[in-house]
Structure formats: structure tokens, C-alpha cells
Amino acid sequence: MLLKNFLKSQPIFIGLRDRDLDALARAIEIREFPDGHAIIQEGRSGKELYLLIEGQVKVAQYNAETGQLEQINLIQPGELFGMLSLIDHLSTSASCISAGPVKIGVLQRNAYNLLAQASAPIAQGFQLAVAKQLASLLRHQEKVLRSVPRQV
């Protein structure tokens, strides 16, 4: 499937016009990874924004008590990830690991910064997509906080 058609079919990109989808699709590089590949490693500096096109990606945090990675989320096609580090310039807070073979769209930091700071229609549509993804992330985190063992 053409990347533009994929973007067009995703709810978070509804705010983008047809020509903006073309431009965004041109800025995105497609990469494929096998099962178990660490697309993002916790504690590193974020350099790219990712859009999952096919497959699933596990989000996991290192648990210092057990020395293990604990899965806290499972990213589905159409979701953006790797945003926080690009927004606040801090290190990544979790690892993102492919759960099976995946196809991913990659937007470089420079392109992200241009889109995140500009006020052109394409930038506004992109900012709306990022806002929707963050709202979805917060909704998921608060769902986890409702059930996570309370030992504080």
C-alpha cells in the first residue's frame, strides 16, 4: 500500500489535506525490522519519530528491582512513538521492541522540529496528530495507573 494511502486511512491524520499527506509521505522513510529488534532503547537520546505501519511494537521499561524489562504497552499500526524525547529533549523513558516483523515509517528529528514549530497548514495537521497520540498515550498510562500494584 502507498504510504500516503496508509496515512490517509489513520484517524490521527484526519486534519491533513491531500497535498500535506503527499509531503509528509515524502519526508517519511520506511524501514523494516525483524522480531525482537530494539527500535528505541531506554535512556538514549531520541533522534527520530516513528509511525508503526505493520506489525506490533512492545513498549517496555527496565525494572531495577528484577533486572528485567516489563512491558507497559503494545503499539498498534497507525500509532506514533518516540515523541517524548523529541519534544522535551530528555532521554527516552522506555524501550520499543518489535513483536514480530514490523514495517515502520521514520521521520528525522529535523523534519519533526520543522513540523512541530511551524504554522503552515501541514504543520498544524501534524501538530494535531501528535497531540492526539499524546492524549492516547496519557489515556493508556492512566488506565495502567488504575490497576498497577499500589506499594507506595
Partner: protein, 163 residues
């Protein structure tokens, strides 16, 4: 009630907006007093507005069957209620309670969506503000989740001794 001097109260936001959009935003937002102890937003309810805190403080908590868990405090210059704005179901994700006598500026979700077509520059600045604020909240929630998971692992590793 004294009108808020938007530029002095929120200089960083006013700078990002510019003079014209600052004046426009000031006309779109309605000031509201929130007495201490008042629930501004109830958890899992339909939200139609978002808020900018002028003064005071709000506790953000997620209700649980074993009591609410506090996930943060929100004070001057911070936003409240922006998550439902970007969610399909428009439901709030937490309970927001004033911990001190507070004042906020309120704006309807519908006004924001109108601004996206009528005043796109204003809407763009607001969206960027919300993105920054939501990313801060996501970081805090990440740390809290990690802390809870580590504590739980610690308890599992060393269960209380049985007499």
C-alpha cells in the same frame, strides 16, 4: 472580578501568540473562580472545556478501588482538561480538585475547533502548548508507573515474614 492582564499573567504564552492573537484569546476565555475543595473535572465524565490556571493549585488524581492515586499538581500557567479535547470519546481521564482558592480561564472545546479554521495561528500555538504540557504529564506518569512496578517487584522478592 478583576479582568486578567493576559500579557502580564502569561508572558511566555503571550510571546508565542503575538499581540493580536493574545487579545483574541483573552476574549475567547472566560474567567472562573474555583473554591478550594471543588472538583473542577470529575473522572470519566464528558468534558466540554479546557482551562488555564491563573492562580491557585489543583490536584490531579486517578480514582481506584483502593483510593485515589495522585499523579500531579497543576498551578499557574498550566493547562487542565486538554486530553479530552484530543480524544474521540471526550471523556476526562482523571479527577481535578482545587487544593487552594483558585482562578482559571475557561475555553470551550468548540471554540478551539472553530479557531482551527478561523484563526489557525492561534489554534496552532495552543496545540503546541498542549503538546508540551501533555508530554510533561506523560513523563511524570511514566516515572510513577515505573516506581509502582519496581516497588511491586521488591515486595514480591521479599514477602513479609510470617509469624
Amino acid at each position: 472580578m478583576e479582568m486578567v492582564d493576559f500579557t502580564n499573567a502569561f508572558p511566555k504564552l503571550a510571546h508565542r501568540l503575538g499581540v493580536q492573537n493574545t487579545a483574541l484569546l483573552a476574549t475567547l476565555m472566560r474567567e472562573r473562580e474555583v473554591p478550594a475543595g471543588t472538583t473542577l473535572i470529575e473522572d470519566r465524565t464528558l468534558a466540554n472545556s479546557f482551562y488555564l490556571v491563573i492562580e491557585g493549585e489543583f490536584r490531579v488524581e486517578v480514582p481506584r478501588t483502593d483510593g485515589a492515586i495522585e499523579i500531579g499538581r497543576i498551578g499557574h500557567g498550566k493547562w487542565i482538561g486538554e486530553i479530552p479535547l484530543f480524544s474521540d470519546d471526550h471523556l476526562s481521564t482523571s479527577r481535578i480538585v482545587a487544593t487552594a482558592p483558585s482562578r482559571v480561564l475557561e475555553m470551550q472545546h468548540a471554540q478551539f475547533w472553530s479557531a482551527r479554521t478561523e484563526n489557525p495561528d492561534l489554534a496552532s500555538v495552543l496545540t503546541r502548548e498542549f503538546v508540551d504540557h501533555m508530554s510533561e504529564r506523560a513523563r511524570v506518569a511514566d516515572e510513577l508507573i515505573n516506581h509502582c512496578l519496581q516497588k511491586a517487584a521488591s515486595v514480591r522478592a521479599s514477602p513479609p515474614s510470617q509469624a
